[in-house]
């Protein structure tokens, strides 16, 4: 990796040439053209997000304008206060449900995923290759194919309309890629330190706790981020497995609010903003690690 003078702006895996701020006509023209070409893409990417924030901050009386403007006439925080403090709107409860289920699914995927990845990467046993391929293949299975049998099984077990059932169902989504990424990361690390610890009498559990977890902490952060975000953003399973308003998660809560109170767009997008901000923050904080971790897994 080359060191760059503008390291602040450069991603984790860069090998870009050294940044020189020399005055050079051709270079400046190229740079301006670069920004000009990026501008429409940035507008396309940001505009819907910006429009959500604008609508959320518009007083309800102004939301239905036949000539809406990109610059809202007045801004207010009242919509946020209204949706959070409402006694009839289950938004706060649904937010809490989503937090609980996403955390539980993340923790389950990490524990199961780490031990599975360790076994696949480090231990020798019959059927290791087949099992590894099988887990990669699981990523190809469409969620819609899983949702019907999961619905039948969980309703027989009495686990529909339950956060436990949802956490289990979400783990089905996150476990395969957790195992896959952690396994790839472990295989890229030298095994000698772990062997040395074994020879010195450390148990397998000790090796995992004292050596593996500290070494692969960056990969664990990536996997936890992905698992949390994909649980938070899941929609189909939450739609099928829950039908009581108090047990619903944010996705179904928001869409049923939209169809019930179709005219309260400021309220709807105030809730949508509160739903989106946590994941956008998590994404921005872990952006670099995420890019590094994903590409390491994909390039392998």
């Amino acid at each position: 990796m080359t060191t760059t003078s503008s390291s602040r702006n450069v991603g984790a895996v860069t090998s870009v040439p050294r940044y020189r701020s020399r005055w050079n006509g051709k270079r400046i023209v190229t740079r301006v053209l670069r920004y000009l070409a990026l501008l429409p893409i940035v507008i396309f990417a940001v505009l819907p997000f910006y429009w959500m924030l604008c609508t959320a901050a518009t007083p309800p009386a102004d939301a239905f304008s036949l000539t809406p403007s990109l610059w809202p006439p007045a801004l207010t925080f009242d919509n946020f206060i209204r949706v959070v403090s409402s006694t009839t709107n289950p938004f706060a409860q649904q937010f809490l449900n989503t937090v609980i289920v996403s955390f539980a699914a993340t923790v389950l995927a990490m524990v199961f995923g780490l031990s599975g990845a360790y076994a696949l990467a480090r231990l020798s046993f019959r059927g290791r290759g087949t099992l590894g391929t099988g887990i990669i293949l699981l990523q190809f299975f469409p969620g819609v194919l899983l949702v019907i049998p999961l619905f039948v099984v969980l309703s027989r077990l009495g686990l529909t309309n339950s956060l436990v059932g949802l956490a289990i169902a979400y783990t089905t989504l996150t476990l395969p890629f957790t195992i896959w990424i952690l396994r790839g990361y472990l295989q890229s690390l030298p095994v000698e330190i772990e062997d040395a610890a074994r020879v010195d009498g450390c148990s397998y559990v000790g090796v995992v706790v004292r050596i593996v977890i500290p070494t692969i902490a960056p990969a664990l952060a990536v996997v936890a981020t992905l698992a949390f975000v994909s649980s938070w953003n899941e929609y189909l399973l939450a739609l099928v497995l829950v039908n009581k308003p108090g047990m619903q998660l944010l996705g179904v809560g928001l869409t049923s609010f939209a169809s019930q109170f179709g005219t309260d767009f400021p309220g709807l997008f105030a809730m949508a903003t509160l739903t989106t901000i946590p994941v956008v923050l998590v994404f921005l904080v872990f952006q670099r690690a995420l890019v590094g971790g994903l590409s390491a897994g994909a390039i392998k």
């Binding site: 090998s15 190809f140 194919l145 049998p149 039948v152 089905t172």
Partner: protein, 313 residues
């Protein structure tokens, strides 16, 4: 792949191995089952069994209203494959997947190429471009539905300001598929951009410098260095995006729910409606299985062509 057989043998002979009956020693004698158990429990119990069960359901005539079921063999598949609406859904899904993945790849590639140079505010621009990836799909669908609104929507308001006389009714049967594709491109291009950017940054600068010394133009360098070296990562990102788009549910469901007049009735919507709106669980599972088989065949052909092209994976 490193199989630590030698060190395992070494450890078995090692004097340091302590005797005793503690739990850790039990694990150490046979570590693989212990470490595999939780993952296997997870994968087999909550992925494997539902999958097999899903295939089984498609061979019965189970419905939400009728608790008694009987085995019907492949009759559901006959029903679905002889129904024009199934083929219509498959066609719509191919259009949705093809266009959204193609355009998202193109946009991701352009953004990655533009961002792959030292420039001010690069980190900020990249962060802004990643936002659509982080926004939950159901929120994205709600925002775009509001922006597409024909009376109060911002898109048509801006188009009118720009002088367009009768802007399109975005969610009408004529334009709905195009509108869904735009939302899907918005949601999925950052993923392509991030992977391609990582691929670009892994290309050593020496290659370009050597090409420059040999008198190659920038375009020639792009065609004969950048594109070939991006092929492996493009292959993976396109495959993942295509599988994702083919089965993508929230955006079509929230924006149009398959309508108007079936114009966006892609396979996942058709499967969901059949299973949970019409209550025909077995028919829904049959459609989902057909979708899975299409993904499997498509991915295999794609992989096979790739291996033929590149010599190996």
């Amino acid at each position: 792949m490193t199989v630590p057989t030698f060190s395992d043998r070494l450890i078995k002979r090692s004097f340091v191995r302590r005797a005793g009956n503690s739990a850790l020693n039990v694990i150490d004698r046979r570590p693989a089952p212990f470490f595999l158990a939780p993952a296997l429990l997870g994968v087999v119990l909550i992925d494997g069994i539902p999958l097999v069960y899903g295939l089984t359901i498609s061979l019965f005539n189970q419905s939400l209203s009728n608790p008694t079921t009987s085995f019907v063999g492949l009759r559901n598949y006959g029903t679905q494959l002889s129904s024009p609406s199934t083929w219509n859904s498959i066609g719509l899904s191919l259009v949705f997947t093809g266009f959204s993945v193609g355009l998202a790849f193109l946009l991701g590639m352009i953004s990655a190429l533009l961002l792959n140079a030292p420039m001010r505010a690069r980190g900020v621009i990249r962060a802004l471009l990643i936002i659509p990836w982080a926004v939950p799909a159901f929120v994205a669908a709600l925002i775009w539905q509001w922006m597409y609104n024909d009376q109060f929507g911002i898109i048509n308001s801006v188009l009118t300001d720009l002088g367009v006389h009768s802007p399109p009714l975005w969610l009408s049967s004529r334009y709905a598929m195009m509108s869904l594709i735009i939302v899907m491109v918005w949601k999925s291009f950052p993923f392509q951009m991030v992977l391609l950017l990582a691929g670009l940054q892994a290309i050593p600068d020496e290659l370009y410098e050597a090409a420059k010394v040999d008198g190659a133009s920038a375009w020639k360098g792009f065609v004969s260095i950048t594109l070939p070296l991006l092929r492996p990562i493009s292959f993976i990102s396109v495959l993942m995006a295509a599988i994702n788009a083919f089965q993508f549910f929230p955006i079509p469901w929230i924006l149009t729910a398959g309508g108007p007049a079936g114009s966006t009735n892609v396979i996942p919507i058709s499967s969901y409606n059949t299973a949970f709106q019409a209550g025909q669980l077995s028919q829904g599972a049959t459609i989902a299985t057909i979708m899975f088989i299409i993904i499997l065949i498509g991915a295999s052909v794609y992989l096979w062509r790739y291996v033929k092209l590149m010599g190996s994976l």
